[in-house]
Amino acid sequence: MTFRRQVLVHLVILGIVGGSLYDIVTSQEHWPFSDYPMFASIHQKHALDNWYRVFGVTPEGREVPIRRYDELWPLDQSRLPLGIRRIAQTPGSEARVKSALEDILRRYEARRAARQHEGPEIHGIRLYSLSWDLEPYAANIDRPRARTLIAEVHQQTVAVR
């Protein structure tokens, strides 16, 4: 190895080792480095509280949960709730939450029209915060203990993009 090559290789090694150790020691996340905190905090209550979920509103007024990846693509049933909850919990974010919901509704309907999912037609979207007492196999998934409407949008409010 030439001297320059050795310097380059050592920089790569030190970058990988240093970046990884820094995030582990400081409990921070600088993607692609991370302290990998998933599942680290323990749950002591047999409950799932304050989980955000979007529901579509059909033309008949029926509410259907929107969870499937092909309905939410490129978002998913975990990324969307966590992201939109963070936004919603920021003071003064009502307009931003509605804008996000309008985007979800627009994409859902566009993909449905293109037969990219088999969900029902919807005219609106409602965002709820849900809480459950845990039951085996999520037997009560359709019967949460608490349900709070956070925001809603309807198709006539959705701008055509």
Partner: protein, 325 residues
């Protein structure tokens, strides 16, 4: 003391190794990624409303934009072609550099929209390690072309260049598991193992809170087997926090590596998170020179497949010195 540490550093990273392990690992790793990402469409991120954008530090710090769907379509086609070229070893160094640059962008994109997932970060680190490596010196079209142009040219000699990238990937992988294990111990201590936490977690994921649902709907059943969650918790901590042992102990390596794979498979099956692509990094643990040596011994006289692929003379399995025990 300092001299001993420097010697240990050099032995670990720069003991000369044959080109086989790095070349074959490159081929298998990029083959898996090419197949995995071929149907994957990144262009949707270009169509998500800015209202949902919450940039991670990399995109925020360097002011990296989210490109339009049309631009992302072009980029992902280039990236997938580069993945294939890196796999077969065609213009290997350039291909791997393109894979690293565009892969960092494409794989990072989704994390700007609400949640940073952890199944592809290690891939980006591997991309960059390989991008500055000589992983195309064997098991590649480039090696075949070189051999055709220079008949009788000597095979690549064992070199530190074939050792440090493999070690780099394995160290990065070890940090992932070690970080996950120590994060649990730091956040929750032994309660992570001894409490009902894992049983509760197995019930929680039934409510559709992971990026994908568990492959098998048996989490609630497992959660109610006496002591099963606690035993799983012990196994998780042991294999995660103890994973770096695999770097140094040849005897314990198979157990730790298989344990790590078991954890990832178990998470996918019982809890949902999609770590399938993460598993591909394990190809760097495989002593490919011994595998090809065994195959050659097994099928000796039938065909010289290894020699054809390597365009090198046979390398004895005892030549492999890449992993100090």
């Amino acid at each position: 003391m300092v001299r001993a540490l420097l010697d240990a550093w050099r032995r670990f990273w720069f003991t000369p190794a044959t080109a086989t392990n790095l070349g074959a690992s490159r081929l298998m790793f990029f083959l898996g990624l090419t197949l995995f990402y071929l149907p994957h469409d990144f262009s949707g991120w270009g169509d998500v409303a800015p209202a949902l954008l919450q940039p991670i530090w990399l995109f925020d710090r360097f002011d990296i934009p989210v490109l339009s769907a049309a631009a992302l379509n072009i980029i992902q086609v280039i990236w997938k072609i580069a993945l294939l070229c890196a796999c077969i070893g065609l213009f290997t160094r350039a291909s791997m550099l393109v894979v690293a640059v565009l892969g960092t962008y494409l794989l990072g994109l989704g994390h700007n929209f609400g949640q940073t997932y952890h199944f592809d970060a290690i891939l980006v680190l591997v991309f960059w390690i390989l991008a500055v490596s000589r992983a195309g010196d064997a098991w590649s079209v480039d090696a075949l072309r070189h051999a055709a142009k220079n008949p009788g040219a000597p095979a690549p000699a064992p070199s530190p260049e074939y050792q440090w990238p493999v070690q780099g990937v394995l160290v990065a992988l070890s940090f992932v598991f070690f970080a996950a294990g120590t994060a649990k111990l730091r956040a929750s201590g032994l309660s992570w193992v001894l409490s009902d936490h894992l049983a509760i977690l197995l019930d929680r994921v039934q409510y559709g809170i992971s990026d994908a649902d568990p492959l098998l709907p048996i989490g609630s059943f497992v959660a109610r087997i006496p002591y099963a969650p606690q035993l799983m918790g012990i196994g998780t901590i042991v294999f995660e926090a103890g994973y770096p042992i695999a770097l140094f102990s040849r005897r314990l390596r198979p157990f730790m590596v298989l344990g790590g794979i078991g954890l990832i498979v178990g998470i996918r099956v019982l809890m949902g998170p999609t770590f399938e692509n993460f598993l591909l990094v394990n190809v760097f643990w495989v002593p490919w020179d011994r595998v090809t040596g065994w195959l050659r011994a097994r099928f000796v006289g039938r065909t010289d497949v290894h020699g054809l692929l390597m365009s090198t003379p046979a390398v004895r399995s005892t030549d492999r010195v890449s992993h100090p025990s």
